[in-house]
Symmetry: C2
DNA sequence: GCAAAAAGTGAACATATGTGCTAAAATGAC
DNA sequence: GTCATTTTAGCACATATGTTCACTTTTTGC
């Protein structure tokens, strides 16, 4: 059975591998581990590695160089999407150009529905506060040129500022409805230059406390 | 200059490395790349790798085995915190035990303030909707046994359900204030068993659309 | 203490792998 | 087509690295 010292060395080994991979992006060699743990023989390390493998803590490919990795990391790995942040886009500037400015946020894909192209924007103002979209929130938008009635859309009228509102149609007009009872609907008459950039699918807020 | 075919091979090489690393968790060897691209000489691959390195697309350690990795991945890499989700905790059960149930969500650390220990919970009910915390939202909580007045705290009274409210003191009583004008403050008299689990620092929502 | 078991050492060995060099093949400009 | 340039092939070579095994040292059970 594993003595206390042995157990400690197993932990140190795991710790070292984890740190090494995080730092260098590739697996340590047996000899590197050997040096790091202060052993004088690589055989000792083989011993530890074999135990860790048996315990299911690490995996490695037989006889291949630098192919050790932690099973834990494998499980913990969460995919995420790197989503461009929409800044203040100048009038007439196409969306994609603005997006070039290259500020990106990461949305974990184990929580958000991330399909197709996405971007995100920071909410300014109180127009959607009654459904819990507050000033300063970051809203995740799925890029799409169309929307269904009732969707929350990011839209642009006459190439002006991008606005976030609930989307409805009334006859041939489009109605952009703020979720704030003290504000009026925006009516977009037929023929107005109007563009849906996408629909809101998620939200992150980091302003509850600091 | 790079011919079209050359460029295509550069792309294929990058693509292969990316896929390989994602799949196997370790870097391909030069010979593996060679085989995958259908070359007959590793020298060809060296040629490509050197170009990619010069372009800044990849990094590698001179003469070390399997140490190729994409710079793109490095940049895209967002650190994240794996945060345990607080389920319904049974009466009297200490928090940490409940947390063992091991559902975790990932919070990107480039957006949230992640210091110390954290957990998260799903909001039930409408008691905080006036500050934009809605039913179904996931709230990130920083574990701490104390709070300042005005903080939004996750707290437990008499080992009952965990509740999310704004925290105040009034004399020797504690006041838990719902941010919903149709609900009453909860007064916690002195001597009541009361425990602050942490304070809310962030929020994620994926229910805006599906 | 003592014997058995466990852990660590050293050295050799096998191979996986990166590198470099020359020549052949392919490509491109004219 | 011809020639210059680029790209690929073929090897040889140096090393980095994993593996194994006999032997020594340390630890453990009694």
């Amino acid at each position: 059975m594993a003595s206390a010292k042995m157990q400690q060395n197993l932990d140190r080994t795991l710790e070292f591998i984890k740190k090494f991979v995080k730092e260098k992006n590739y697996s340590p060699s047996v000899r590197e581990i050997c040096a790091a743990l202060g052993f004088k023989s690589t055989a000792s390390v083989q011993n530890y590695l074999e135990r860790l493998r048996a315990e299911g803590k690490i995996r490695r490919e037989y006889s291949k160089n630098r192919t050790i990795y932690l099973v834990e990391d494998e499980e913990e790995f969460s995919d995420f999407e790197s989503v461009p942040m929409l800044g203040n886009i100048a009038a007439g500037q196409p969306l994609l150009a603005a997006v070039e400015n290259d500020v990106k946020l990461h949305f974990p894909s184990d929580f958000f529905h991330l399909v197709g192209d996405n971007f995100c924007l920071t909410v300014k103002g109180e127009s959607m506060r009654e459904i819990g979209i507050m000033n300063g929130d970051v809203v995740l938008i799925r890029s799409t040129p169309t929307a269904n009635e009732g969707d929350i859309v990011a839209a642009q009228i006459n190439n002006g500022e991008v606005t976030l509102k609930r989307f409805f149609k009334r006859g041939n007009e489009i109605v952009l409805h703020p979720e704030n009872s003290s504000m009026e609907d925006i009516i977009v008459p037929e023929g107005t230059e109007f563009r849906i950039l996408g629909i809101a699918v998620g939200l992150m807020r980091n302003t509850l406390a600091r």
